[in-house]
């Protein structure tokens, strides 16, 4: 036996099969139902947005890493995932070049400027969407009817509720036959992905539970008080980007808290901000801003919400 070949390092000597690439791949797999529902409802339009966003992300990642003479890591699935997530939150009718620009923004100013993977403060896909929203407000709020070949415009369920007091029936929200962002319309597809991620232990249940739970609680209270003015809890959960945000965006490991306690606070904060914007905001939807704002608070949450020291008495945390 050649003893020179023996490896010496610190324990543990066995590792979990789940590495970073595995996690990213799992999230992408979990997004497949929502991607398919987007393609089914919005056809070629959706394909263009997906291609544009992914193309923008991968190309920017490659160019930046190449110019900074870093290891090229576009094969770690993280830029691909950002591209898919960005496409999911864009209107299906968005021109391809705008989606591409969004991808460029997500990776350059959303991620690489902070030092690359693991260092960004804000969710890159949502930051890019906020940028596009500011730059192209009309394109970002134009929605097309699902399965309409001639691209008839429509309003989103949240828009209908806010401006016309029309509550979309839950079945349509559940299966996704409504206007909205590419990947947000089908609650069923998103829940399927969420169940897969929870089962595979890729995401922790706390953020989605706190987020969705807070939205349910707040809408139940307000509906109890003024049923004519406020939409029911079921509507708030299924409509808009809540499920997409709670399952896939707020759970982004890099931009959410590292402590269990912190994740409860983070999720609840997202829920409160979402509802404030949905009730009183000029826009019908508040998921994007709620998550971005809570991203900004994450370092503080990490500092404040520390786990209890093992063996310490309550007084001496």
């Amino acid at each position: 036996m050649n003893q020179k070949k023996l490896t010496i390092n610190m324990s543990p000597h066995v590792l979990s099969p789940v590495d970073t690439r595995y996690m990213m791949r799992a999230v992408i797999k979990a997004l497949i139902p929502a991607l398919l529902s987007g393609l089914y409802f919005f056809r070629m339009q959706a394909l263009g947005v997906i291609a544009g966003a992914i193309g923008g992300c991968l190309l920017t990642e490659y160019v930046i890493q190449k110019t900074r003479r870093e290891k090229i890591r576009i094969n770690d699935y993280s830029a691909l995932l950002t591209g898919i997530l960005l496409a999911m939150v864009l209107p299906p009718s968005l021109p391809l070049w705008m989606a591409f620009l969004g991808g460029v923004f997500a990776i350059s100013l959303g991620k690489e400027i902070f030092g690359g993977l693991g260092h960004n403060i804000f969710n890159p896909a949502l930051l890019a969407r906020a940028f596009l929203m500011a730059a192209f407000p009309v394109a970002l709020t134009t929605w097309i009817k699902p399965i309409s070949l001639d691209a008839v415009t429509t309003a989103t369920p949240l828009g209908l509720e806010k401006f016309d007091h029309i509550i979309t029936p839950p079945a349509a929200l559940f299966f996704g036959q409504v206007g909205g962002s590419l990947g947000e319309t089908s609650a069923l597809a998103l829940i399927l992905g969420g169940v897969y991620l929870l089962y595979k232990k890729i995401v922790d249940y706390r953020i989605p539970a706190a987020y969705i739970g807070t939205v349910i609680l707040l809408s139940m209270i307000t509906q109890e008080g003024a049923p004519d003015k406020f939409a029911p809890a079921m509507f708030h959960v299924l409509a808009g980007g809540l499920l997409l945000g709670a399952i896939f965006m707020a759970t982004d490991p890099v931009t959410s808290p590292v402590t269990a306690k912190g994740r409860w606070i983070f999720g609840a904060g997202c829920g409160v901000i979402t509802m404030i914007i949905r009730w009183w905001g000029g826009l019908p939807e508040g998921v994007m801003y709620s998550i971005l704002l809570m991203n900004a608070v994450t370092p503080l949450i990490n500092k404040m919400a520390r786990p209890k020291r093992f063996g310490a008495r309550k007084a001496e945390k």
Binding site: L6, I8, N9, H13, V14, L15, T20, P253, P307, G311
Partner: protein
């Protein structure tokens, strides 16, 4: 049945079946026994034999006047070839006694002597345990007589028998529990006689059900006073379930405070192997000179458990053909894969606390390149002592020792759950250890 556990932890692949196919076998006596003089935590021993001396099997070759120490015995009869430095698998070069076995002298028989332990004083029993050189055989090697010598004013209310064996691959305790159930139980009665706890728990993970039922059977048949106070408990199979603090938390619901001992909350934990050694010492007058060791891993052709004399080198185990390699290992590990130590060769002896020797291939133990942290916090979720390893790691990398201390780096017990689960393959235990050493050094200045 309810399964007890603690918060956090991981579920590695266990691979226990490969070494558990048959009962343990006796390994041949070593031609040359290499016996490190210190095999315990505490004051080092001095050699009391010289080169050229003839020593009997079971004769003390190293001891210390200090209370916190355990004597070391020769595991064979023969001539002392030398007293010189040899490689100790955990501590590196250490003074050791080399004994060349006298092939004409048969191994000793340790006959059973009936004794009524109720008539022997606790002091006498503890002293016999010390003379037999017994240390914690689960890994830590803390002298057992020190643990049993409870200081005035303290009282052990709960005694826990640790049969968790949560490290993957290792099955030495499982085998022992199946084959020496009675001996472990009698050893337990001796400890019970010394400590008089109110409650005794025999704790076994649920992947070792046969051992659990073996103890249940023996307790049902027991008519003595102990039967009313003893209980077998099933633990969830999870790493590090056998860690002292995790075990206590699972069973009593109480947390041992930082830097305190289980004793401070009235609890004492004893490993099953240690209890079996206590039985041997008291009823058979046999010092701790052999133990069951798991030889396992995907590079061994016939993994299994062996009764091995302390001082037998791993090299000799292979040369004598007791175990053989089917492919070149990438790692040779003393202990389990989660907390064991990777060795640079095979020329080191089996010690009192050697639970296993693993030969792992590149496929099973391939080390990975460290990637960037994505703050997934899996390390924090699995940490059994509620640390946030990712934050400690970042501060250690920058040399911020004060921050590391504020984050309680010194509470880390290096179980390795964080590094096991880390998707970025960051060697977190290494950073924790670095942080701990720096913080302790700073404190001592």
């Amino acid at each position: 049945m309810k399964k007890l556990t603690f918060k956090g932890g991981v579920h590695p692949e266990y691979h226990k079946e490969i070494s558990l196919r048959e009962p343990f076998r006796s390994a041949p006596l070593p031609k040359i026994a290499v016996i490190p003089l210190s095999q315990h935590i505490g004051a080092p021993n001095k050699a009391i034999v010289n080169k050229g001396d003839y020593v009997e099997e079971g004769q003390i070759v190293g001891e210390s006047d200090s209370f916190v120490s355990a004597p070391v015995h020769s595991s064979v009869s023969g001539k002392v070839l030398d007293v010189k430095t040899a490689f100790h698998p955990a501590l590196g070069p250490l003074l050791s006694v080399f004994v060349e076995r006298d092939e004409n002298k048969p191994s000793k028989e340790y006959a059973f002597t009936a004794r009524n332990i109720e008539e022997i004083s606790s002091r006498e029993l503890v002293s016999e345990i010390r003379t037999a050189g017994i240390v914690g055989m689960g890994g830590a090697a803390f002298p057992t007589h020190v643990k049993l010598n409870v200081p005035d004013g303290k009282k052990i209310k709960t005694l826990i028998v640790n049969g968790a064996e949560c490290e993957p691959y290792l099955t030495c305790d499982h085998t022992l529990m199946l084959r020496k159930t009675k001996e472990i139980f009698e050893g337990l009665k001796i400890v019970d006689r010394i400590l008089h706890p109110k409650k005794i728990y025999i704790a076994i993970e649920d992947n070792k059900k046969p051992a659990f039922f073996a103890f249940q059977k023996i307790i049902t048949g027991e008519t003595g006073g102990i039967s009313a106070r003893i209980k077998t408990v099933l633990l969830k199979t999870k790493y590090p379930q056998g860690g002292e603090k995790q075990l206590i938390k699972a069973i009593t619901g109480r947390e041992v405070p930082p830097a305190a001992l289980p004793l401070d909350i009235g609890v004492l934990v004893q490993n099953v192997g240690t209890l079996s050694a206590v039985y041997d010492a008291v009823y058979r007058d046999k010092p701790l000179i052999e133990r069951i060791v798991t030889f396992s891993g995907d590079c061994l052709s016939a993994p299994g458990n062996y009764l091995v004399r302390v001082g037998t080198t791993v090299k000799e185990m292979l040369e004598s053909g007791v175990v053989s390699l089917k492919r070149d290992p990438k790692k040779i590990i003393v202990g389990g894969p989660m907390m064991g130590i990777a060795e640079i060769g095979m020329d080191f002896p089996i010690l009192k606390n050697t639970s296993g020797i693993l030969f792992l291939s590149e496929k099973t133990a391939g080390s990975c390149e460290e990637d960037v942290c994505i703050r997934c916090a899996k390390c924090a979720d699995v940490c059994p002592v509620n640390l946030v390893p990712t934050e400690i790691m970042k501060n250690v990398k920058k040399g911020y020792w004060d921050k590391a201390e504020e984050l309680y780096v010194t509470d880390c017990m290096e179980c390795g759950a964080c590094a096991y689960i880390c998707p970025a393959r960051i060697p977190l235990v290494q950073y924790m250890k670095e942080g701990k050493l720096a913080v302790l050094k700073k404190k001592n200045q």
